[in-house]
């Protein structure tokens, strides 16, 4: 059987080079407001991916024209063509979703979706999009999901992991209902900007702490999704976890299952083992993959978790998390590779018949 294996890159970043790039998609009064106030892309963006941090961009991405993440040509050359990608799902991280004036933030996010469609999705059939929405305004988020419901190229709704409340909280359920109705996944992506304390215990003082903290914050969101009964209410909902690591999964799932045995009465609607619920609904990207120096330990860790169905390939272009993911992928068997490189994502995002070659 020589059916080609689909290659799906589940996390490719795109970002407008400037806020002015969104003007064609923005209401006139905002254009004037932005120009007069000399507003720009949020400072938060520079805090998430500081230009001088090695992790913010590969050397190659920096060499392309424009700031890293702004060039479709770079994505084609460095990601799509290089890896034979059939489908790449865009993540437009701008920091607009942390803005508390949700009229401003929400309208900017809407403009980002239109910009994404016109200047990326329209220009390469291999690309799929994430609907960006304001989590601080669930009603606006639902309106935006409905506005784009006729564009099948949007396959998921993007939410930042730093938030006012964990993502199982009821304030978000209308967003999940809208997404599930339209067959869209929910993607929780690293960063965002929390309201008060970006760590569990106060303001951290280094970027490196914030960078690693997503591996921890993400776990709180998963617990919340499980115990708030999101998967009972929305049995069809799929959740992606992007740019938050994955090697923490075994220890986390063990503890979650153990606690469930003693604390079930607090949340009796969690009627299945939490690790089973997550195995069914959750997929996790491999970039970054915080691999140990000794790859045998990684093999041993993966053997403790029935993992091949859980992970999805991601380049996370233009970001650079070192070679952990590449080293991991190089060790996969043929069947494991097929699942991680595209099979899992194709099923997770319901991409349909994804051709195993250049997308047409």
């Amino acid at each position: 059987m020589s059916a080609p294996v689909p290659v799906v890159d589940c996390d490719v970043h795109c970002v407008p080079a400037s806020i002015e790039a969104l003007f064609p998609y923005l209401d006139e009064h905002w254009v004037g407001f932005i120009a007069n106030g000399m507003l720009g892309m949020p400072a938060a963006l520079g805090a998430m991916y500081p230009p001088g941090a090695a992790t913010s961009a590969t050397a190659e991405a920096r060499a392309a024209s424009g700031p890293p993440g702004t060039s479709l040509d770079a994505v084609r050359e460095q990601v799509l063509d290089r890896h034979g990608v059939d489908v790449a799902v865009l993540s437009c991280i701008t920091g607009f979703d942390a803005i508390r004036n949700t009229y401003y933030g929400g309208d900017l996010l809407r403009a980002v979706n239109d910009w994404q469609a016109a200047e990326w999705l329209d220009r390469d059939p291999r690309l799929r999009g994430s609907i960006v929405v304001p989590p601080l305004d669930p009603e606006a988020a639902v309106r935006e999901i409905r506005r784009l419901e006729d564009d099948p190229r949007f396959v998921r709704v993007l939410l930042p992991v730093r938030a006012d409340a964990p993502y199982g909280n009821r304030r978000y359920h209308a967003i999940y209902a809208a997404a599930a109705e339209r067959g869209l996944a929910i993607a929780l992506h690293a960063w965002g900007l929390s309201g008060a304390q970006p760590t569990p215990n106060g303001f951290s003082e280094h970027y490196i702490e914030d960078y690693v903290a997503h591996t921890i914050i993400a776990q709180g969101h998963l617990t919340s999704l499980v115990v708030e009964g999101v998967f009972q209410r929305f049995g069809d909902l799929r959740v992606s976890l992007l740019e938050c690591g994955s090697t923490w999964l075994p220890a986390y799932l063990w503890r979650l299952d153990k606690d469930w045995k003693g604390i079930r009465r607090e949340v009796p609607w969690v009627d299945r083992r939490p690790s089973e619920l997550l195995r069914e609904h959750l997929r996790v990207s491999v970039a970054p993959l915080h691999a140990p120096a000794d790859l045998e330990q990684l093999d041993e860790l993966m053997a403790t978790l029935d993992w091949p169905e859980l992970l999805m390939f991601a380049s996370d272009h233009p970001h650079d998390h070192g070679d952990g993911a590449a080293r991991f992928l190089a060790r996969l068997s043929g069947e494991q590779r097929a699942a991680v490189m595209g099979g899992n994502a194709a099923a997770h995002y319901r991409l349909g018949a994804v051709v195993g070659g250049r997308g047409d």
């Binding site: 708030e228 009964g229 009972q232 209410r233 469930w260 045995k261 003693g262 604390i263 079930r264 009465r265 949340v267 009796p268 609607w269 009627d271 083992r273």
Partner: protein
Amino acid sequence: MKHVVGRVDEFPDGGRRIVVVARRSIGIFRVGDRFYALRNRCPHQGGPLCEGPVQPWVDAPAPGEVRVRDGQWRVACPWHNWEYDLETGESWFDPLRSRVRAYPVTVETFPVDVEGDRVVVELAGAPA
């Protein structure tokens, strides 16, 4: 092998007694007219299972909608709160692999020179 563990009136409704039968610590529970007997040792870490609270099980078809399942009684281990069905000894979370021995319990009437009905626990002939 059958063992008499006491008179029926020694087991108040809604209560339980721990007895030692054939060197095994066993919890005898009474709910209404029904008696249950479980090995008094939690399969998890060996805690005194039968000393824990007894409650009916609950389920919830949706978050926040909780229903009490009358008649389905569980005892929770005093330690980690893992719960086991009084009738079958099965845990709710892993009925096959986490379960405690449940013994048949009957109430029997004895010959006229013995006053009152007796609670009888049956242990298998071979060691548990």
